[in-house]
């Protein structure tokens, strides 16, 4: 399954290569908000970028424009990879959490759970709602999303988090804070921190069935490799 999401923060900070089916951003300048895509600089006009998605020759970036008083405005930006003059910016009311394909459309979710799809250059809000602070960890690019929402950070927040499929009717209650769950192949891997007993739990993304659990003392660096020999 193709996964387009690019963790551009890494690219911006380290200048390291990241993989994508369609394009591979390779490095970025930190001073002028430019990133390098296939050896070509794209001036993003954003002061902070934390996620991106490449669809064909279109690059979508999620980030902020930051005013002189340090107030951040959530933004989604679109750039053409073939024509460096083409760029669009959209301002959002809430912080945008992620960008992904849903029903073949470029889609974003925000931190309060709203979901917006881009059609004809405009973002339209869908009836679909996700939990607040949800992360889409997998998409079939059509109807199915696998969504994880983490436990509240604050002591007085709800500490019930979890992961679920939007179409396959499974829902797992989990407690995770530091390490976002990850889909590796056809399994969902989660470092569950409930009751202070660190546990690597592996689930089938097809059924939600728990395939294994392994005790781990601390969050693994790489969830895909953790617990394997």
């Amino acid at each position: 399954m193709k996964k387009y999401s690019l963790w551009l923060s890494l690219i911006l900070s380290l200048g390291a290569a990241s993989s994508s089916t369609w394009a591979t951003p390779t490095s970025a300048h930190s001073r002028d908000g430019a990133i390098q895509v296939n050896g070509r600089a794209i001036h993003t006009g954003l002061q902070s970028v934390y996620e991106g998605l490449v669809v064909g020759d279109r690059l979508f970036l999620v980030g902020f424009k930051i005013a002189a008083d340090r107030v951040n405005t959530p933004q989604v930006a679109e750039f053409s990879l073939s024509d460096s003059t083409t760029r669009k910016f959209w301002k959002f009311d809430e912080i945008v959490q992620g960008v992904f394909l849903f029903n073949r459309q470029v889609t974003v979710n925000d931190v309060v759970g709203n979901v917006f799809t881009l059609r004809d250059g405009e973002w339209g809000r869908l009836e679909t709602k996700l939990p607040p602070n949800a992360t889409v960890v997998w998409t079939d690019e059509a109807e199915e999303l696998i969504v994880c929402h983490r436990s509240g950070l604050q002591k007085d927040a709800s500490h019930v988090g979890g992961c679920f499929s939007t179409t396959k009717h499974w829902d797992q209650q989990l407690f995770w804070i530091e390490k976002a769950p990850k889909v590796c192949g056809m399994s969902l891997r989660v470092f569950d921190e409930s009751a202070k007993a660190g546990m690597l739990r592996v689930f089938s993304i097809a059924t939600g069935e728990e395939l294994s659990r392994t005790k781990l003392r601390k969050p693994p660096n790489d969830l895909c490799r953790a617990g394997t020999r």
């Binding site: 902070s48 970028v49 930051i66 107030v71 604050q154 007085d156 409930s194």
Partner: protein, 211 residues
């Protein structure tokens, strides 16, 4: 001076001699154990304790409380990270050390202070700027001896209440995991009046006791 906490009434009373000279809103834990999957809420345990002192509190148990209140922050938007100042004055990454992203911090700041920005100082510690610690005094000498331990329950404010106070909004106390939540202004007044001085007696009453 003695402190008396009545958990079922959410009252902290200050007693001087035989009469109560002040009452303050204060919320403790639930009367019976709760269901938080990470750390279950517990009653504020009834008993007679001794105030040990005041400290800036940090604990690895809660992610936002790993960093002490007021620690300097440096916004690093290009790195999608925020750095914090260690006691050694060196800078460290919040994303790496605490597992929290820049935008999550911004979201918290937006929720508390209504502005989408990274504050110059850490204002997210669950225990507020200071915590007032107490202990069970086994031998009655009012000193924390080697075989005595500070209670994990303590007086403190919450980031939400600190923000409400800072913005001039009404301060609404919330139930705790077992600690005693105070309003920032009451904490400051009680501190200034000496009610939290070391060796002050604190009596946590049973849930069926009323003032």
């Amino acid at each position: 001076m003695e402190l008396h906490f009545f958990p079922s009434q959410n009252i902290l009373a200050v007693k001087d001699g035989t009469r109560y000279i002040g009452q303050y809103g204060a919320w403790g834990g639930p009367a019976s154990k709760g269901f938080d999957p990470y750390m279950a809420e517990e009653p504020t345990w009834p008993g007679v304790y001794v105030i040990h002192g005041v400290e800036k509190y940090s604990t690895p148990t809660w992610p936002l409380s790993k960093i002490k209140w007021g620690v300097r922050l440096i916004d690093m938007p290009k790195l999608d990270d925020v750095y914090y100042e260690l006691p050694s004055k060196r800078l460290a990454s919040i994303k790496k050390d605490v597992g929290i992203s820049r935008r999550e911090l911004m979201q918290l700041h937006q929720m508390y202070y209504k502005q989408m920005k990274i504050p110059p100082k850490w204002v997210f510690n669950d225990f507020g700027p200071i915590a007032i610690r107490w202990f069970k005094d086994q031998n009655g000498n009012k000193i924390l001896d080697k075989n005595e331990r500070l209670s994990g329950q303590m007086f403190h404010t919450t980031p939400q209440n600190e923000a409400e106070q800072s913005l001039g909004l009404s301060v609404n106390l919330t139930p705790s995991h077992g600690c005693i939540h105070l309003k920032p202004a009451d904490r400051d007044f009680l501190l200034g009046s000496g009610a939290f001085s070391p060796k002050t007696t604190l009596i946590v009453h049973r849930y069926d006791e009323k003032i």
